[in-house]
Symmetry: D2
Subunit: 124 residues, 4 copies
Amino acid sequence: MKIRVYYEDTDAGGIVYHSNYLNFCERARSEVFFRHGLSPVFGGGQFVARKIEADFILSAKLGDTLEVVNELLEVKGASFLLVQRIFKEQKMIFELRIMLAYVTFEGKPQKITPDIKRLIESLF
Amino acid sequence: MKIRVYYEDTDAGGIVYHSNYLNFCERARSEVFFRHGLSPVFGGGQFVARKIEADFILSAKLGDTLEVVNELLEVKGASFLLVQRIFKEQKMIFELRIMLAYVTFEGKPQKITPDIKRLIESLF
Amino acid sequence: MKIRVYYEDTDAGGIVYHSNYLNFCERARSEVFFRHGLSPVFGGGQFVARKIEADFILSAKLGDTLEVVNELLEVKGASFLLVQRIFKEQKMIFELRIMLAYVTFEGKPQKITPDIKRLIESLF
Amino acid sequence: MKIRVYYEDTDAGGIVYHSNYLNFCERARSEVFFRHGLSPVFGGGQFVARKIEADFILSAKLGDTLEVVNELLEVKGASFLLVQRIFKEQKMIFELRIMLAYVTFEGKPQKITPDIKRLIESLF
């Protein structure tokens, strides 16, 4: 998924504000659903970030075109693990490891059913 | 209401990103409710922006302390009009005229009851 | 220009947060430059919002695909006027009239030269 | 540092959008400087996020008052480590471990001088 850096993504330091790389990754996760005519909100729940680890390697600036690449690591009982990497002209500038928990609309953790597991594995 | 300008509010131009002045005004509208132990979401609805006119007079930058001042102009049948001014060291840097419509949770316009009219008039 | 609505664009009301329509319009203005291999920051300055008037007609929600259409109204001595309309499935949901002033990097107003006037007229 | 949750901080899931907890932590880091009459941009450089690890424990919603507490772990040769915890009514809802690198305005890593080390140790 390609993402363009606009003014709103940058800060007074002249580069992309650090937490916006997480937003770019979230767009790339949601877009996987949208592109298949699905919504990231489905059935009885949605996915929320539980744990993240991120490395900020290089910075992006206004007008840059970035690419987000998703890699599924593992689907567990109530969550799944994803690595998302952001590239700028073939160079990796950001890497995110994220654990996404499947929760009810009230925010309670819930089991990932075999159907949802298959869906995640087919999408990512 | 005092608002500090942080990195996230600025852009690569070195100043506050234009639409963030609207966010500052929205914070000031919501804060009026919060300070009275109320929520801006109440009874059968909430207020949404319907029309705005804004003048960007001077710019703010990282670390500035701004003050937002609200002035109620008029409560109409299904909306109310507010002027919100942002000051930086006594100088007005931004002025917003906003019409806020009262809508149901499905987004349908609805009447402002006398009770809600009194509430708005007492809050703003 | 097509814009997808992601989680970050929405708020607890379930719809796009009002000021984000301004961000979408700003993306569409910048993208005009980027698509021609140009930057919205050029020569001795950049454009900043000076006055806006906006109508919020209908709301957009997570996953919607929006289209922003720009129409140039007038290039004046030190600013230009643009109308930007956002459509969702052919229906106009937001309209912005914006005056953009040409300023130096220190934020001082400056004249739009004939070259820059021609550039704006050819781009928008 | 106290932070109020406004509409702009929430998303269509009804709770604070995940990356905004990072913004809250950044505000708390910058505020440490502002409260002492200093700027987080000083001398020959500024601090940028290099690595983060975060746990999203509980969620916050519109109107919540949060508190961010900073704890300095270590000042190294060209970076420092901070733990930042966000509390809602005494309960920890978010924890961030962040490595902040000291860089020049061109983004090059640079040494933390003894003066800057003392400053960091006195502020955090």
